[in-house]
Structure formats: C-alpha cells, structure tokens
Amino acid sequence: METTDIPLHLIVLIPLLGAAVNGLFGRRWSEHLIAGIGCAAAFLPFLLSVEAFMALRETGAEALRQPALFTWFASGSFKVEVGFTVDHLTSVFLLNVTGIGFLIHLYSVVYMQGDAGYFKFFAYLNLFLFSMLMLVMGENLLLMFVGWEGVGLCSYLLIGFWHHDNANADAGKKAFITNRIGDFGFLLGIFFIMYAQSEAGLPISLSFEALAADATRFSGYATVIGLCLFVGAAGKSAQMPLYVWLPDAMAGPTPVSALIHAATMVTAGIYMVARMNFIYVQSPEAMTVVACVGAFTALYAATMGFAQTDIKKVLAYSTVSQLGFMFVGVGVGAFGAGLFHVITHAFFKACLFLGSGSVIYALHHEQDIRRMGGLWKKMPITAWTFLLSTLAIAGFPLMSGFFSKDEIMWKAFATQNLLVPGWVLWLVLVLGAMCTAFYMVRVFCLTFLGTYRGGAGGHHDAHGHDDHGAHGAHGDIHESPALMTLPLIVLAALAVFGGLLGLPHWISHTNLFEHWLEPVFVAAKGLKFLDNTSLELGLMGVSVGLCSLSALLAYAMYNGTLQQTPARLAAQFQPVYTLIYNKYYFDEVLSFLVVRPTKGLARFCYRVVDDGLIDGLLVNGTAAVVNLSGRLTRLVTTGDVQRYATLLFVGLWALVAFWVAG
C-alpha cells in the first residue's frame, strides 16, 4: 500500500467538472468550445491514469491510495469514507476507460456535429466517465455502487438521447428498469455482506481492503453473497436473462454504443466479480453459476447474431456473447484471462462500433446491412479497420482476440474448480466462437463487399434528428473525416497488437497481463487447473480450425459461390429461422411472465390503493381538513383588531384560570 502524491481524486473529478461546465453553461457555446472542454476532461484523466500506472510499475506497490477526501457518513463504528484507490486491477480499467473514452470523445466531435443537443451529449459523456471512474476507483463497495448507479443513469440518458422518438425513450427505460433489477441484487449482496460480518463478529466495513482481509471469516455466506452480486453483474453486463436491454440500447448515438455498451460500462459486471474474487473463490457453487450463465449467454447471443439485419444490433448481440466469454473466464477462476478479454474486446469492439458509426454516418443513418455493400472502395480506412477488428473478434491467429479468447477456452476446459466438467463449457464456447466468426464475416461481407444495394433514395432518417447538413447530397458516399478515422486506426492497431500484452505461456515465459494482475487475485492462487500444454495446443488447433471453417462458409455464403444458400436455408428451416429472427421470442416470454403480472399489480395498486385509499381517504380527507380549518380560521382571524385584543385577554384569563385552579 503506497500513499501517493498523484492527485487520484482529480481523475474522477475532472470529468465531473467537465460535465458540470458543459451541462450548465454549454447551451449557448460554440461546438468547438464544448468539444474542447469535453475532450480535455477525458484526456487529462488519461494522462493522470498513465502516471498512476507508471507509479505502480515503478514502485512495485500493490496499490496507490490517498487519505479519504471526507467521511460520507458514519453510524457507530460503521463508517463509509469517500476515498479513491488505484491498484493493479483498477489501473488496467483506468487506462481502458480514459484511453478509449478519449478516443471516442474525439470521434464524437465530428459524429455529433450539428446536433441540437451537442453540449448535452458531451456533458453526459463526461458524466459517464466520472461515474465509471468512480466505479473502478472507489475504495469501498458503496462508492462502487454510486458509480454503478451513475453509469446506469448516463446509459439511460444517452440511450434516450434522441428522445423525441418514442422508441428511443422506451429503449432507455428498458435499460434502466432492467438494470434496476440487477441493482437490487447488488444491494442485497451488500446487505448480506454486512449481515455476514456481524454474524462473524467482525466490525462492519465495506472497504475492499477490509473485505479482502476478512473474506475467509464469513465464507459460509460466500455463495449467497456471490449469487446476489452476480445478479447485479448480470444486469449491468447483459447476461441471461437480463441481457434484453443491450440490443435495444443501440438506439443511442453510435459513439455511446461503442463507449458504454461495448468497451466500458458493460464490463463493470466482470470488474465487480473480479474485484470480489475473494468471495467467489470460496464458493464453487457461485463460480459454477457465473461460468454456466456466461457460457450459455455466449452461445445463445451469438446465434441471434445470424439473423439480425441492423448492423448495430449484430454488434450488440456480439457484445452480449463476448461478455459471456468474459464471465466464463472469471467464473472458472481464470480472472486474468477474463479481464484480458475485457481489454482486447474493448479494443476491437469499440473499433467495430466506431466503424459501423462511420458507415452509418456516411450513409446518412442507414443501419440496415441489406441496404449496404460495396463500401470497400469508398471507405477504405473504415473497411480496413473493420476487417482487422473482425479478424480479431473471430479469433484469427495472432490477433488480440485469438489470445484472449483461447486463453479463456483453455481455462474453461482445464478448470477443476466447478461443479460441472470443464469440457462442457469448452464445447459451448467453441460453438459460440464459431457462430461469432460466422456472423462477423457475414456483416463484413454484406457491408463492405459486393455492390452497393442502398440506391440514391436509400436515406431514411432513423433517428428523426437534424440531418448533418455538412456533407453533401445523398449517394455521394465517401470516407469519414480524419477525427473519426484516427480513433479507428488507433483502435484497429490495438486490436491487432493488443494480444502481445498477454502472450500465453507457450510463447512467452510470463504472461505480462496476468502477471500484472496477480497481486489482486491472491485469493485465487489456490484454484486448480489442468496443466497440459500439448492438450492446450491441440484444443486450440481444433477451435481455430472450426472457426476458420465457419468464417469461410460465411464468406462463401455472403460473397462467394454459395450466395443462394442463406435464403434457401431460411426457407427450409423456416421455424428455426423465425425463432432466431425473433430473438427466441425472449422479449415476449419475459413480457408474459414478468411485465404482465407487474402491470396487473400496478393496476391493482392504482385502482384499490391509489383510487380508494389514497384518493379517497388521504386526498379527500385532506381536503376536508383544509376546508374545516379554513372555516375555523375565518372565525378567529377576522382582521378586526378589537377582536384580537379580546381574544388575547380571553387567552390570558384562561391561562390564569388554568394556573390558579391547579
């Protein structure tokens, strides 16, 4: 533990300041000024994060901390302080959040040009950064929860950013409500921790330091705590069954999808599970649930990617699926592998989203891949970066996604910590990876290869907001401006080379990334994995081979010799296709099972409780009281000074009588 003179709190506060300045005063400012402030408020924290990272490296300390800013509240011996800590895990997230956050700020400068809510957008983005940084830097669970709620709020605000369209506003609400369900689990988890502490006779404390030190002393509650917290994580990170909000969240502006709904916020659940690793490692049950839910989501969401036609929806399901991979990683106890995938996924998925944004921007808000195609020539930078990221996510050898995904798959196979055998998980994940390779290649082919299918009149304004007047007539498709392509290039480079950070043991002696995180996962040291390099390489060969096959198949079906096949397949397996196309009717099932009963309850509350009890008794009762007291007051307060004086003396004599009588 190292006290540092790097102003850690500024990392959190600068974005807040940026949000406040832009939000309060930005309405009348020029776009340049707003963008400058917004980007600066993302860049300065990035510099500070780098500094903190370097300090951690140089001192070799486990964590940087500073005296708490102030005590938030205290009740008896239970005290919650507002303080920020940067340990190895946090430093990774800091660089990820601020770095990618800054790139996406840059991208948004152009992407959002001309939007009436320009200042609002940057204020929200900065507010999001603030919340996210609070989430990863807070020194205790409650601060993390504050950040957790903060990112939820920002996500809601940004999904519904173009809220004059009802669908967008509904999507925002859906995200918010689904997340609330998860948050409830999170809160329950916190309460169980406090309960467990008091049962164990420990002082109640929610700081991570104390929790990590004492976790073994309330291990009896590890399962229930772990499961409750995982409900929260599943809500935020879009796992079964709470994933439903993420595809709809694509209603938000594309930079938001890239930043919040791909690179950072949705990984908060993984961060939380990793942060609470000392709880999970004590409960094989909880770990099994995490891993199984993750694996199932990974496959389930990937299959839905087949039938989607909205480019962003495909990417959204892909995100859900990739988050499943990450949960398998942390669920099987390979925290380093899971987090490594968080980082590489942030690179290539942000790149993919921004690339799709670039396409959407060029096509004037066309999002349907059936009306794209042939953009390779017209938008070379976008196409190249998109291609590289596609290869990365598909797990093409030596790309970043290859290393991180295969690490997870191997660990899933090798784990001996769960209640299910590892090969089951592995099988599910390989299927998921094949699907991923397939639908990603499909999207790439439909978007960039072949011929343009949009036509001159293809423009339809999906968002109903002001069109960008800045760039030419319809049909005149060209590459996006430099401020948009620059982030693409940086992210694509990272997507290609990012894997070098975490080279597996059969290439390099130490896995830099996992080694860096080791101090955080001391508790996970006791977990057992198979150790068989040749088996590992063999399995990898199998998965790479299968993925390549499925990718080639996709290429053939969407840009090669088998172009008729998709339609035929769809016709032949009509029921299956419809099922997938309609996302397994999951929304409908959920609606029937959850939403309708809730509505019924609401109607009951409205009719009986609200109409009857509140309106009848309270509201009308209040009115009656008001009426009565009005009449009484009018009797007494006549404005007649003689009467006032009389009553003064009546009161006086009453008191005297009362006094003397007793």
Binding site: T622, V625, V626, N627, S629, G630, L632, T633, V636, T637, G639, V641, R643, Y644, A645, L647, L648, F649, V650, G651, L652, A654, L655, V656, F658, W659, V660, G662
Partner: protein, 568 residues
C-alpha cells in the same frame, strides 16, 4: 443594593455598542445626505456596522472561556456563550435583512435611510434581550426591539396594508407589553427583586413563595408577554395580518430574529431562572411547564391547521412560523423537565435547549432563503405573494424558484436540508428526556410536521406545476441573489455538516448552567467547583443552592481597575 461598575464591562456589550453607534450613524447619514440621493449607501453603512459587530461577537466567542458566563454592570446584563450565540444569529439576520432590503425599498418607493437605522436598533434590542439578566432591562430591550419593528412594519408608505398591520401590531403589542410589565411588577412584589439571580434565590429559599399567588400570576403574565412576541397560540392572532402586511424583508427579520430573541428570553427566564422543580401548582403539578405544555399543543395545531387553507404565501409563512414556535416549545418543555441547571452530565450534551439553539439558526436561514425570493414579487407598495402569483416561476426565474423550493423544503424538514436536522435533533433530544408526557408531545409534533408538508409542498406545486395566469412584476436584485445564495449554501451545509453548529449550540446552552452567582459578584477568576453529587441526580427535587458559579475572568483584555462598590 450593591453595584459594581467596571469599564471592561463595556467590552461585554461591545457588539451592542457598535450596532447602536452605526444605527445613529445611519440616522445621521439619512438626514445629512442630499435630498434626491439614493440611500443605498446608508444600507451599506449599516451592513458594515453589522459585520463589525459580528466580528466583535466572534472575538467575544473566542475570548469566552468554555461554559462560564460573565456578569456585566453588577449582574443586570451578562455575557455568556448563550447570548453570544444568539448575537451571532441576530447579527447575521440583520446583515441579511439589510442586504435584502436596499433594492426592495427602491422598488417600493421608500428609499429612506431610517429603515437601516431601525433594523440596527431592533437588533440592538434583541441582543440586549439575550444578554439581560434583569427584568427591567429585559423590558426596555424588548421595547427597543418592538418599537423599531412597529415602525418597520409600516415602512412602505404607499402600502395601506402595511399601515394597517403596523397599527394592529402596535395596539396589541402595547397590551402585551403592559401585561409583561404587570407580570414583572408582581414578581418584584413577591421576590423584592427584578434581578433573575435574586429571584431565583428567593424562590429556592421559600418554596411556599414559589407557589404563591403573586409568583404564579407574575409568571403567567410574563409568559403571555413573551408568548405574544414569539406568536404562541392563543396570542398569535396578529401574526398573519402583520406578516402579510409588513414589507417582506421585515417579515423575514421578524420571523427569524424576533422569534429567536423571544426564545432566548424564554429559556433564560423560564427554564433557567424560574426552574421547574420548585413548582407544584398547575395541571399535573408541573408549574408553568404544564402551561407551556398545553400552549405547545395548541400552538402547533393552530399554526399548522390554519396554514392549510391559506392562499397567500406570506400568510402561509406566518402560520408556519407559529407552528415552528410550537415545535420549539416542545424543546422548551422537555428542556425544563430535563433540569438543565443542575445536571452537569446534561450540560455536556446538547439537550433539548441546545437543540432549540440549533433549530433557531437553521430556521433563520431557511426563512431568509424563502424571503430572499419572496421579496422580489411586487412593486410600489403592492406585494404579489399570492400562490397564483408564483405559478410557473420555477421555470421563468429558475433561481427564484429554487430558493423558494429549497427554503420551503427546509422549513418542512426534508432531509438532507438543515431544517430536517433542526427538527431531528430537537425531537430526538426531547425524546431523550425520557418522560412519557414529553414523548406524547413529540408525537404530536411529528404529526404536525406531516400536516405541515401539505402547505409547504403546495408552494412547490404552484412554482413548478401551474401555468402562470397573469403577469406579475418581479424584479431582480443582486442583494437578494446574494442573500439567497448565502442562505442556500448554509441550509445545505447545516444539513450535510451540522457538527460545527451543534458544538456551538452545545457550548451556548452549556454556559447557562451557573445561573446563581454569589451575592457580591466579583470579577476575579475562581476555580469552578463541581456541585455535590446529591444534587446531580436528574429529576430530584433536592434543594439546589449548591450551584457554585463564580464567573471566570473575561478574557478580553486586562480590566481597567475602576472596580468599586457603592451602596445606595
């Protein structure tokens, strides 16, 4: 009678002297200024005076040693942490009133320097009320305050309602003053003294005297006199008319400072001097506390219920101020049962009386927050403070709306605002007294707080949920904005970080303990002695002459040794 004079005694009333000097300066500035000249500078002059006095008061606060009180001028006045705490309140209130009123007076065509002089004179009266330990000085101080306020209420010449309100206030106030004076006379007749310390000794020495007719009658008359000033039901009837008719800054001044001054007197004269356990008459055998108990209930209901149908914000606030007086009485009752004067343990905690001190401060700033916004509504002697005048103001003038909304919520006692913690500490400390009848009283108070929500929130409804129906003149003023910002900040700060003020309140109330001084009060420092353990038992009706309270030396300066004793 022994009278000891000491020039250093003047330092004990330094803030009062400063305020009076500046009041005189303001009056002179008014008459020596050019006829057409703006009188804003007179307000600035008064503000400077209030701020200097505030600084002097802070100096006294730091100079005062812990919980001890320093008698001045032979015991007629006193300087202790209690009075100094209240002086902070009065001076802050005065400063805010002066800042708030400069533009108001111009808008209403009454830009006269006398206003500022009168506010300062009233402040001097309040400060002397908090410092007096002699019923005659108390009466004079009260009259100094009252007469100034009577004039201030009618200050806007164009306002007919103001004139009417002032006349009503003056007439009834004259009755109340007479009643108070009569009570003082009766007490003098019974105890042969107007000095609180002597009265206390006489009451302690002879329990039959304490329960005699003269003392009973005297106490109830004094109670009515003070109760009139703080608007206790049934002596509150003037309040809505006067609060409504008075210029808004003056209403704010009255609601915050006049009320606080009244409660300062109530605590010092009743809780501390008259005490509780020598009294065996009255309902329940609780003496005057039983009467206050009844008044508390009546006042809370009278204020809250009568506020419900009101449609004028200033009248709502008038009834709200009555209700708040009722809540504060809960503290007075609990504090009197709590036997503040003997229990040393109690002195180390806040206690209901300390909670009153805290409450009054929070209430003052909440009130100023509301009036900083409310005073902007109107022009030329016509104030537009009907609820419908506020419609939509939350959006048309966001800051005005915010000030009103936050102020109302604080008055209603919503967390995390200061008003919530005022109520919280008051009710909690009252509950801690542990007497079942006080618990009932607190429950009544909580029910009343809930009733109160209705009319406070109604203001918010009009601010944010109604469409404006007509154009209302609402001016802007930098002064009002300043007052609003300061009050807003304090209302939030006192809610989020009440610790500092609580410590101050605790110290203020702690200084009331040594009420009885030795007959020849000397100004030499003496070690405080702890009272014998027997008398420390809370609630015991033991004789309580053991109070040893030789005051500590006033740490302001080396006393100029003019000390002497004359005998008349």
């Amino acid at each position: 009678m022994n009278i000891a004079f000491n020039v250093s005694d003047l330092l004990g009333i330094l803030p009062v002297l400063i305020v009076i000097a500046f009041a005189a300066l303001c009056a002179l500035a008014e008459v020596f200024a050019k006829p057409g000249q703006s009188r804003g500078f007179v307000g600035t002059l008064g503000l400077i005076g209030a701020l200097i006095a505030f600084a002097a008061n802070a100096w006294q606060w730091h100079g005062l040693d812990g919980a001890y009180s320093v008698p001045l001028f032979g015991g007629g006045l006193v300087m202790d942490a209690f009075s100094t705490y209240f002086n902070f309140l009065f001076l802050a209130g005065t400063a805010l009133t002066l800042v708030l009123s400069t533009k108001y007076l111009k808008e209403h065509g009454s830009d006269l320097g006398e206003f500022h002089a009168l506010v300062l004179f009233a402040a001097a009266g309040m400060m002397l009320m908090a410092q007096s330990r002699d019923l005659i000085i108390l009466f004079i101080a009260l009259e100094l305050m009252s007469v100034s306020i009577y004039v201030l209420v009618a200050f806007v010449r164009k306002s007919r309602r103001g004139a009417e309100a002032a006349l009503k206030y003056f007439l009834i106030g004259a009755f109340a003053s007479a009643i108070l004076l009569y009570g003082i006379a009766l007490l003098y007749g019974a105890t042969n003294s107007v000095e609180l310390t002597t009265i206390r000794r006489a009451l302690d020495a002879d329990p039959s005297l304490a329960n005699g007719l003269l003392v009973r009658l005297g106490m109830v008359l004094v109670l009515v006199g003070i109760g009139f000033k703080v608007a206790l039901a049934p002596f509150h009837l003037w309040t809505p008319d006067v609060y409504d008719g008075a210029p808004s800054p003056v209403t704010g001044f009255m609601a915050s400072c006049v009320k606080a001054a009244g409660f300062a007197v109530l605590i010092r004269v009743f809780t501390v001097t008259f005490g509780y356990d020598a009294m065996e008459f009255g309902a329940g055998g609780n003496g005057w506390v039983g009467v206050l108990y009844l008044l508390a209930i009546v006042t809370m209901f009278a204020g809250n219920l009568a506020a419900l149908p009101q449609s004028n914000v200033k009248r709502i606030l008038a009834y709200s101020s009555i209700a708040h007086a009722g809540y504060l009485l809960v503290g007075v009752v609990a504090g009197s049962f709590g036997n503040l004067t003997i229990d040393t343990e109690a002195a180390a905690t806040l206690g209901p009386n300390g909670a009153i001190l805290f409450y009054l401060m929070v209430y003052a700033f909440s009130t100023f927050l509301v009036f900083s916004a409310l005073s902007l509504f109107g022009k030329d002697g016509e104030e537009h403070t009907h609820l419908s005048d506020l419609a939509g103001m939350g959006f048309r003038r966001p800051f005005v709306g915010l000030a009103l909304a936050v102020g109302m919520l604080s008055l209603a006692g919503m967390p995390p605002l200061g008003g919530f913690f005022g109520k919280f500490y008051l009710f909690r400390e009252a509950m801690l007294s542990g007497r079942p009848e006080v618990t009932i009283l607190v429950l009544v108070a909580i029910v009343n707080s809930m009733i109160g929500l209705y009319y406070y929130l109604r203001v918010l409804v009009f601010l944010y949920m109604k469409e404006p129906t007509r154009e209302v003149p609402v001016y802007s003023s930098r002064g009002a904005t300043t007052v609003g910002l300061i009050s807003l900040a304090l209302v939030f700060l006192l809610g989020l970080f009440p610790g500092g003020l609580l410590t101050m309140a605790q110290r203020g109330i702690g200084s009331l303990r040594p009420v009885v001084t030795t007959p020849t009060a000397s100004l030499t420092a003496t070690e405080p002695q702890t009272p014998p353990a027997a008398s420390r038992q809370a609630g015991s009706r033991a004789p309580r002459l053991e109070l040893k309270a030789p005051p500590a030396q006033l740490k302001l300066a080396t006393p100029i040794n003019l000390k002497a004793t004359t005998t008349h």
